[in-house]
Structure formats: structure tokens, C-alpha cells
Amino acid sequence: MSALSLSGVGKVFNPGSDQEVRAVHGIDLEVGRGEFVSVIGPSGCGKSTLLRLIGDLTPPSAGTVSVNGKTPARARLDRDYGMVFQSATLLDWRKVAANVELPLEIMGMGEAERSRQAAAMLDLVQLGRFAGHYPWQLSGGMQQRVAIARALAFKPSILLMDEPFGALDEMTRERMQAELLRIRAETGTTVVFVTHSIPEAVFLSTRVVIMSSRPGTITEVVDIDLPEPRSYETREDRRFFDLLTKVREGLRAVEAS
């Protein structure tokens, strides 16, 4: 059973009105357990909408989404999803550790276990020393790492990430990518990752899904057969450049059409 299965999925916003937008259309996609799938495409191609459809934050207008063999709504109630947005979305009034504990608190985990789990997650993103800080005392990259720790705290089977590193500088971004891969190797989480950076998509993924816009459809799926574990050397690998070119050409074909 695949982790994610989408067939004929479409989403129309404001149907029937003069502001009707066909955001995504006819999406078929299978994501296996433990896969890392990046979705890339021009701005406004419906990448985020696709992620929100998977995460049950908006209902599809057509087709079916199946998550671990369940409906997205059921999967959300079962807490199968960890979500990371472009902004860290940390709660200002909670210190770092308490932010990581938030989902555990909502799920009714006991206090002792909660704080043990939060501490372990903060160690995982190497922010153990900052447990007692407020979010505003942290840099943007650190805040995003807290958000990742929070998303992983309840061990979701699927991580949905919407341009999580979009606001970071290039060096921080590469460090975060390496860290994300390390965490994924440790947890075995399935990841769906929306980005508009070609190197980011190629470096992180097992597959890259290329989308066109209006309506957003999948035009090409590129298998990323780079050796694992990936490292800084991967970025200098000849194969890495070949795959960059392949994805870039796929995107250019989309823009030209």
C-alpha cells in the first residue's frame, strides 16, 4: 500500500463565478512509503493547493486522495500529517520547547513524556540549548528548525512541507537540506516537499514532480537516482548536474507551452 495515492484529483476555486480558478486538474500520483517527492513548478501552478488537498486543509472538487489507505480527513484525525509552512508559524507566547510540545499537548500526552519527547526532537534539529528561548530570540533558520522539530514530534507518517526553506539564505538553506535528509534517514518519514528551487528538489528527492500552471497538471516525473546518503559531494556529482538540466528542461517546456 502506498503512503499516498491521488487519482484524477482536481480543485476549482469559486466554481461558477467570474472568479473561477482551476487550481489543479487531473492529478494522478502514487507516493511510496519512505519516498521523498518534491513538487516543482512556476508560481501559481497549484503546488501549494496540491499539498493542501493531501493534508485535508481543502477538499478536492474532483477525484480521490487516499492516505495510508484512508481518506485525508481520517488521516488528519489520526494525526498522520506533520506540516511545515514557508513561515515557521511558531506561537509567540510559547517558548521553543513548549512550541514543540503543542501537538503532543493537543493529543493528550502526559507532561513528563511530552517534555522528554520535545527535548529529543530539539536535539534532533540541534537546538537543545534553545529550549527555554522565545521564538523571537531565534534566527529565521533556527525558527524553521523548531517548526520541523514540532512537525516530527508526534512521529507523523507523512511530512508535508510547503517551501519550508524559501525565506532562508543559500548557505543556511543547504545546511537545512542536509539536516532534513539526516532526520528523514533517522525517522523513515515519507515527505512531500513543495519548492521552486531546482537544486533543492534534485538534492533532496527520490522523485521530482514537475507541474504546469492554469490548470496545474503534472507534466513530467523525474526519477532522482543519486546515491544515498547525499552529502556536499553530491552537489558536485556529474549526475547531479545532469538531473538539474533534466528538471530545468522539463520546467522550460512547461513555461514555453
Binding site: R76, G82, M83, F85, W93, R94, Y134, W136
Partner: protein, 253 residues
């Protein structure tokens, strides 16, 4: 700390000296403006009467503030939770907040009786209710869409979202409103007392003394009312710093 307070202290002391100097130099009569020293002398001579009146007024203001504030919080929570409550109540709350509610003061006397403390508490409570409620509703509703989606992704219920996201988000709004309400509560209590009630209240004390041309006494009462107002405001500020140390308005202080 003290260094930053020096300018304010300087203006305060300087203002008193100028006031005293102007009154003496131009021989201004007491019924127009008594000198600070004259007010201070009256204050110490009349301390017992003033404190009795002040305590009565202050306690009704405080009772009204707590009652009105508590009702406003309950109403705001209901308005944030149920859309029909919000749609039904908010337009009227905003309308009421734009009217001079204090005009109810003389009418409250006929509703509750001249000597009833509830007349004062009622006026104060209704005066603080609307700004506190409106601000709190605004705070409860002004959460980022992404924060709401985060809670949804955790399958958090409406009450959990209200408790863990909306309410903490609204506390800075609540405290802004409470600071205004603290001042309003004393205004409400004293103005209500202008229209009658027990003699041993600041409002009655001021009108009576002014009627008898004893302006030093009236001014002493005004000073006391100001002190109460400042103390009440600062109590709210102290609580605010304890409750929301994370907020921008507090963390840089």
C-alpha cells in the same frame, strides 16, 4: 532605570513649582486655582474624610471593572466561538461603544436607588464592557490563517483552538483594553456620584465642597482620584508584564 525617570520627575516637580509660583505671584484666588501647598495642607487636614470617600469610590469602580470585564470576556468568547453570536451582538456593541454611555448615570440612580452601590457598579460595568469585549473579540479573531491550519493539521477541536491559539493571541488586546477600562472605571464611578448617592463618595465630596466654595477640599479629592487612577493603571501594567512577557510591547521594556 532611575536615569530614565529623571526627565519625568523634573517636569513633575518643575510643574508644581511653576504652579505655586504663578498662584503666589498673581495672587490667584483659591476658588479659581488653589496653590499646591494649600491643596497639600488640606489633604493632610482632611485625610480621614478623603480616604473614606476615596475607598468607597475606588471599591465600586473596582467592582464595576471586574464585573464588566468578566462579562465582556464571557461575551467575547461566545462571539468568537459562535458566528451567530458575533453577527448578532457585535454591530450593537460597536454602536454602543460609540455612544456616551455615561449619560446612563442619572438613570441608574432611579433604577437602583440613590444610595445603592449597585447603581455605581452598573454604570462602571456597562462603561467598561463594550471596549473590553470589542477588543477581545478582535484579538480572538486576528489569528493567522496558517496558525489555524496548523491547529487543524493536529486535528485540534474548536475549543482547543480557542484555548491554545486564539485566547493567548488575544491577551495583548485584552490588556490594551483593560488599561483604557481602568481609567474609564474611575470616570464612571465619579461621574455617577456627581448625580447623587452617598455623601461619603468622591463625586459627592467634590460637588458638595465646590458648592460650599471649599475649593482646596475639592482639589484634594481630585488629586486623590488621580492617584487612584494612576495606581489602578499601573496594577494592570504590572499584571500585563507578568502575563505576556513574550509580547513586543513588553519584552523591550
Amino acid at each position: 532605570m532611575l536615569y530614565h525617570r529623571l526627565p519625568a520627575i523634573g517636569i513633575f516637580v518643575g510643574g508644581l513649582i511653576v504652579w505655586e509660583g504663578v498662584v503666589r505671584a498673581f495672587d490667584i484666588k483659591g476658588f479659581i486655582l488653589p496653590a499646591p501647598t494649600a491643596i497639600a495642607a488640606t489633604f493632610s487636614a482632611e485625610t480621614a474624610d478623603l480616604l473614606t470617600a476615596g475607598a468607597g469610590t475606588f471599591s465600586t469602580a473596582l467592582a464595576g471593572l471586574l464585573l464588566g470585564g468578566a462579562l465582556a470576556v464571557l461575551m467575547a468568547l461566545a462571539a468568537a466561538r459562535w458566528r451567530f453570536v458575533r453577527d448578532g451582538a457585535l454591530p450593537f456593541a460597536i454602536a454602543a461603544n460609540s455612544t456616551p454611555i455615561i449619560v446612563l448615570a442619572p438613570i441608574a440612580n432611579s433604577w437602583f436607588g440613590l444610595r445603592s452601590p449597585f447603581a455605581s457598579i452598573f454604570v462602571v460595568a456597562i462603561l467598561v464592557f463594550f471596549p473590553v469585549m470589542i477588543n477581545l473579540v478582535r484579538g480572538l479573531l486576528s489569528v493567522e490563517a496558517s496558525e489555524v491550519e496548523l491547529m487543524e493539521s493536529y486535528a485540534a477541536g474548536r475549543l482547543t483552538t480557542l484555548w491554545k491559539l486564539q485566547l493567548p493571541n488575544a491577551t495583548p488586546y485584552l490588556f490594551s483594553a483593560l488599561k483604557v477600562a481602568a481609567a474609564l472605571s474611575l470616570i464612571g464611578a465619579i461621574v455617577k456620584e456627581f448625580f447623587g448617592g452617598s455623601q461619603d463618595r468622591l463625586g459627592q465630596y467634590i460637588t458638595t465642597k465646590a458648592g460650599l466654595l471649599q475649593f482646596e477640599e475639592a482639589w484634594a479629592a481630585i488629586v486623590l482620584a488621580s492617584i487612584f487612577g494612576i495606581v489602578l493603571y499601573n496594577v494592570v501594567v504590572l499584571i500585563e508584564r507578568r502575563v505576556i512577557p513574550w509580547h513586543v510591547s513588553v519584552r523591550n521594556v
